[in-house]
Amino acid sequence: MRPSILVVHPDRKTQRTVQRILGGTGRGVEAVDDLEQALQRVAELDPRLLVVDGGAVSSPGFDEFFAAARARGAACVALLDADHQARIPGILGLGAVTNLLVHPMPVLGEELTITAQKLLRGDLFGAEKYLLWGTELHATTMTRASQRMHIVGELGDRVRDRGQSERVASMAMLVADELLSNAVHNAPVDEHGTRYRADLPRDGELELDGRHRVALRWGCDGRYLAVEVSDAFGSLERDTILRALVQSGMRESGGGAGMGIALAYRSCDHLVFNLAPGRRTEVISLIDVRSPPGERVAASSYNVFVERG
């Protein structure tokens, strides 16, 4: 079987773990130790997916390797051991890594498998992919902007009713509020790309007809509470997201564009963007509900998936 997944990681144990996990995709998986070997193998194998050590992302040979892989249409996932979470601002600052999975050791199979399958199959949308089979997702559609606070409050109530803690309920409310607010006010664009509702007061009333409607879905499988918000404009761009995630100014001043995205990222354990440009934006926030922290990690993963035309 010709390998179509290339793993670049200096740790042999991690290489083997990742090979075993991704073997489940049915694709061939090959592992190498460093970027020099990886650059050579990219040319020979023409892989569809690269899984690289997060530590390698900021090393000197990465740009050349990354450019060669992208030119061949390969998607890239960076893995970062939770013990090395201090590297995250540096990785975000590069502005090139669209998929970062922060993980305890050993690597968590679920997140890696889901990310790999989405990239390999091009099947991006739906929070179901992150929840156990059979988990019910509750759906609400916003038809007026003033419904936001009610929907957010009801989400908090229903999460508590299901036995979740104040911590989980308040995080779910926060991310839902920020994502809904972005979808109502920042997503709508006209034919010139002008965001014609971005400057309207957030507490004002707006009818959300047709394409302006915003959908919220949520569900919990005992590990993750997923909150999914989608709009029908598909105007959120990859570079905007990556700039918002790094948001160095927000931490100090609380200001700056993209604060809602930055706050949502820092309020959940995994933030996923599914983008179909011009058609649909879907953001999924995953909150780890397990307690005590145990296998949880103190840093968040993110994915930005862009549908290929």
């Binding site: 308040s170 926060l174 957030r202 507490d203 931490r251 103190a298």
Partner: protein, 157 residues
């Protein structure tokens, strides 16, 4: 506890703030309750604060500093602690006297938001050691249900 606008009530030497802090809150008005250049806010009932509420909160902090009013925060609820940790500017010059924190019981699975006296436990908190708390259900010692280096970072400035 569906999200509701904030309500403000004076009780003893403190102003009790309940509900959601958002774009409609107008927190700067709270400064009119200051006495002798001091304002004590009881924030135990704050269930929610969004990014626009954060900006309103920072306006309150800035206005208090301009007016020379010392802010004391008591019983600060978890949603507000999260913002104090994520956005340094929200801390302003306020002094946190006590705050809620998440705990979980390994023995019976109960989760609680429990009040920590930031003054009495100052030294332990500086060492990132959460105070021991007994479970209200089974009496076992509860475990702190977050990452101390993250949850207590607001105390380090």
């Amino acid at each position: 506890m569906t999200t509701r606008r904030i309500s403000v009530e004076s009780r003893g030497d403190a102003i009790i703030v309940d509900g959601s802090i958002d774009e409609t809150s107008g927190l700067v008005d709270l400064l009119s309750h200051a006495r002798d250049r001091r304002l004590v806010l009881d924030l135990g009932g704050v269930a929610f604060i969004n990014s626009l509420g954060v900006r309103d909160w920072m306006r309150l902090q800035a206005a208090a500093q301009r007016a020379g009013i010392a802010l004391e925060l008591r019983r600060v609820a978890e949603p507000l602690i999260h913002q104090l940790n994520v956005i340094i500017a929200t801390r302003g010059g306020a002094r946190v006297a006590s705050f809620f924190a998440p705990y979980a019981c390994d023995a019976c699975g109960r989760e609680d938001s429990l009040l920590i006296d930031a003054v009495a436990h100052a030294q332990a908190l500086a060492r990132l050691e959460p105070p021991a708390m007994p479970c209200a259900d089974c009496g076992a010692e509860m475990a702190f249900n977050d990452f101390p280096e993250r949850y207590f970072s607001f105390l380090s400035v």
